[in-house]
Amino acid sequence: MIPEWKIWLTIIGLGAASFGLRFVFLGLIGDRAMPEWVLRHLRYTAVAVLPALIAPLVLWPSATGGTFDPLRFTAAMATLVVGYKTRNVVASILAGAAILISGNYLLP
């Protein structure tokens, strides 16, 4: 059992840190202009952070204890390809979910 004080210390500490991280640039820089080279790098934030976050989870899913899973990998690739081709987030999620769920029910 986790002691109460540990739960609340985590909630408050993590909450404060998360807000701090999200506020640091928006709050402190605000409307001051940023140099062009900084903006150029910031344009690639999302397209760098999200793939870096996902790549290990796709190759070594936590649900399989970190072993490569062909079904999850196929579902992941289908999601990416459909999203790239259609530019449609919903179609892309549905494609991935359809493969994952049908695979889980149909495969032995």
């Binding site: 998360s18 928006l26 690639y44 999302a46 760098a48 952070v49 870096a52 999620i93």
Partner: protein, 236 residues
């Protein structure tokens, strides 16, 4: 006129956010289930989701608390998972930095992955949006994403373990993020940024505290910026 254009921006944001319910609800339910399993009350689980409002970091923290990890490790690991939020904040600043302080604090609080990804896609596709329209769009996306997150967490603490594992809930997060990455790959520079980020993250996956993610992200940003410069030189 101004009122109607911000209103339509809000609703466009709202419609953009609605599909994420398919992810937010199962993910919130799952957090509620995991938190209950770890011995937390419904109130504690809800406090987690309201105060921290960051799914991946919340799962990390609860997992480590359950593993009896020292407090410093719990906080450091969960904060490391959330370091990307600072990059989101920097990336939003050119678009929302002129808002009054309290509105900037509000956007900072709600700056979760799905909201960020939706907002940045909109701002890049429609550079002519006014500041008020950008803020309205942001809050429009927030509404169907963040409020259901709280509700789903509490629901999860109540329903318990009734969800069949065949639904593959564990993979809901990777699928959502991948679905957002596809449409972001608009230019060759974006594709190179993503490839470099994946390569960096995988090569440094052995680093502690999720630092491989940071290495990959920085490698991706530098590669993207470099590819963009090269593309402009080739045009000129």
């Amino acid at each position: 006129m101004v009122a109607t254009s911000t209103k339509s921006s809000f609703w466009r944001g709202f419609r953009t956010g609605v599909p994420f319910l398919m992810v937010i609800i199962p993910f919130g339910l799952l957090f509620g289930i995991v938190a209950t399993d770890a011995g937390m009350s419904s109130f504690e689980a809800l406090a987690f989701s309201v105060v921290v409002i960051a799914g991946a970091a919340q799962f990390t923290a609860v997992q480590l608390l359950q593993d009896q990890a020292p407090m410093v490790v719990v906080l450091a690991s969960a904060i490391a998972v959330n370091l990307r939020m600072a990059m989101y904040s920097a990336s939003m600043t050119p678009h929302l930095g002129r808002l009054p302080l309290w509105k900037r604090a509000m956007t900072a609080y709600f700056l979760v992955d799905q909201v960020y990804a939706s907002a940045i896609l909109e701002y890049e596709e429609r550079p002519q949006l006014t500041l008020a329209e950008k803020f309205a769009f942001f809050m429009g996306v927030v509404t169907p994403i963040c409020l259901p997150w709280y509700v789903a967490t509490v629901a999860g603490t109540i329903v318990g373990n009734a969800i069949p594992p065949e639904l593959g809930l564990d993979f809901a997060v990777p699928i959502t993020f991948l679905a957002m990455i596809g449409p972001m790959l608009r230019t060759r520079a974006h594709v190179w940024a993503a490839i470099a980020a994946v390569a960096g993250a995988l090569a440094f996956v052995w680093l502690p505290f999720n630092l491989g993610l940071m290495v990959g992200a920085i490698a991706g940003m530098i590669t993207g910026a470099y590819a963009e410069t090269r593309a402009e030189e080739a045009k000129a």
